[in-house]
Amino acid sequence: MSRPVDQAKNAETFLADTVHEQRLDELLWAMRMRRDAAARQVPEWEELRTLASEIKEHTLSNLSQYLIQFEARATANGMIVHWARDAHEHNQIVYDILAEQGIDALIKSKSMLTEECELRPFLERRGIRVTETDLGERIQQLDNQPPGHIIGPSIHKTTKDVAVLFSQKYGSDPNNEDAAYLAGVMRENTRPDILKAHAGMTGANFVVAETGAIVVATNEGNADLSAHTSPLHICSVGIEKIIPTRESLAVFIRLLTRSATGDTITQYTSTFRGPRKGATMHVILVDNGRSARLGMKRFWHSLKCIRCAACMNTCPVYRRSGGLSYGSTYMGPIGIIMMPTFEIRKYSELPFASTLNGSCTNVCPVKIDIHEQIYGWREVMEENGQIQVVKKEAMRVADAQPSDPLPDRHGHTVNRTGSPSPLRHLQPLECMGQAPGCPGSHNRNIS
């Protein structure tokens, strides 16, 4: 059992680095502004959000039926469909597929699910070399760091950081921070791996039950690359990614990229319905706690998530903490409400990494009530005795006990005249934890 991630302490460390914190905050706020500008171009924006939410709620409440439909259609299309109950089973299935063909090198595009399952270390321990083809994922792989953001895994790194990293790994010029130059360095160094690949792996943004298709959206085309540059394509996808029809797909495609980056669509939005001639395509449907989460009355709406990261971009806490501070696969607001379902103790502090301001809920394209779920998780943590002693103590200390006599009805307060508050080292808070009254109750001032 893991100790709880101390997100607050990690955030404090991140904040001490003013260069990186300021850059991340500005960059992601700019993404939020781009999202706003894109939404303004779509008069039916709010209607699309409602439709997306309702489509997901319909699908999730009929999930078994759609899973079976997808399996049948995908199989008819020539895909081989697998089922994985948990992360370990998923990883084993991937390994078995590769081992059966004697393959020891795999290229893959970005998949948060494979991060969740910790696929790469599993395969690497068994002698399979894995090369990430997504630029941001590759940067993080080279640096031995997990992704810090679900759309831009290396977004917390400056161009200088990347230049230094590439010079260490690829021998490029450490002083050339030009992004185009660095992208070229990456392209040159990964192209040989890609062209020699014997197996490629992708995730999926959406799974269409009606047509037996998987849909992947990238700006680099690296998922298309990963899927095509070998006769073996493995696609891993969470069971909650299913949507019923092509028609419903359109709603999500219109919302996804606008919410994520403010563009109308990604440069490559691809539909895979089956293997090409002479090739094999596997789809692994992964549960890993999703079916259990479906039964959580207060929290199952988190399964609607389409992984756009709009919540992270708008979250003022995320932008000042950095994605790595959460110590989790999924971070920011959506991470707070998902991660406790994986490991409640390890992520017991996350629901408190929020001011409950509600901006996340407002930008979520599928209308997940994120901040309300964060509030709900706090109660769960308290009920399950998960609130750390230290945190509880801090909350009690915040109990306002002014030592100065209170001013009279017509007087000025100490704050008004500028002299230090008796609780100068803390922001004085509302009364804490002393039901039914608060300490001030005996000294009610106004009468």
Binding site: T314, R320, A353, S359, R378, E430, C431, S447
Partner: protein
């Protein structure tokens, strides 16, 4: 008309002048104000920490004290948001339902119930940065939310303050980004909370206001602390004080 005045515990303890200003303002407007003396707290701090058991007794007490009034006004968006939208720790009762239905933030009370727009006894010839709390915006719909790009832009506190002769509002960036207070958050995530406050102050200061006004004292308290730590000398006023006729 009659209204019960709920004064948030932290205002009573630390900023009683805000409670007094609210009282005086309501009396100026002809409201018969009742101040129940055994009021304590709305339960928000405990509930926001997940401590529902502790919140329960507080909320039930609050319902008992205020539940018989047709109108309850309070100079706090966060308390109003808690009562209207999250008042679930205590047992249900007619008093609880009454309280949920009849509690108004001061802004709402003036704007929607009394429908007042002019405050002839006040003047405030200053450049004002108006900060509206997240509870007020997203919990109580007191102003438009920047995320909802198609909604018409509006602000009830600004509409009311516009009735004070001389006020000039400055515009600043990230107008509805959270100030970082967040209740317990300010203690448990002090570094991030403070940074959010410093950033908000920086955006506000770029617009060179003479002062900062809000209808939520908790935000002001936080920003005030941040300003003090940065040795920034900018005055802070609660919305009620300005409408009541305070001068700089």
């Amino acid at each position: 008309m009659q209204a019960a005045l709920m004064v948030p515990c932290y205002i009573d303890m630390l900023y009683p002048h805000v409670g007094i200003a609210t009282l005086e303002l309501l009396e100026k407007l002809g409201v018969d104000v009742v101040y129940p003396k055994d009021q304590t707290c709305c339960g928000q701090p405990m509930a926001n920490s997940g401590c529902y058991e502790e919140a329960r007794a507080t909320e039930e007490h609050c319902a008992k004290v205020f539940g018989s009034f047709d109108c309850v006004a309070t100079p706090s968006g966060s308390c109003t948001h808690h009562i209207r939208n999250k008042f679930t720790a205590g047992a249900d009762s007619p008093e609880r339902q009454n309280l949920v239905r009849n509690t108004y933030d001061l802004v709402e009370f003036l704007h929607d119930v009394l429908r007042i727009r002019e405050f002839p006894w006040a003047t405030f010839e200053h450049r004002v940065a108006l900060h509206t709390s997240c509870s007020a915006i997203r919990g109580l719909n007191m102003a438009s939310m920047s995320e909802h790009v198609h909604d018409p832009v509006f602000s009830k506190p600004q509409a009311l303050l516009s009735g004070v002769p001389g006020i000039e509002f400055v515009e600043f960036e990230r107008v509805d980004e959270c100030c970082g207070f967040g209740g317990t958050f300010a203690v448990t995530e002090e570094a991030v909370s403070a940074k959010m406050g410093y950033d908000k102050l920086a955006f506000i200061q770029q617009a060179t206001p003479d002062c900062i006004i809000s209808s939520d004292m908790s935000c002001l308290m936080h920003l005030q602390g941040c300003a003090r730590r940065q040795k920034q000398d900018i005055p802070f006023y609660h919305f009620a004080e300005v409408l009541n006729g305070v001068s700089l």
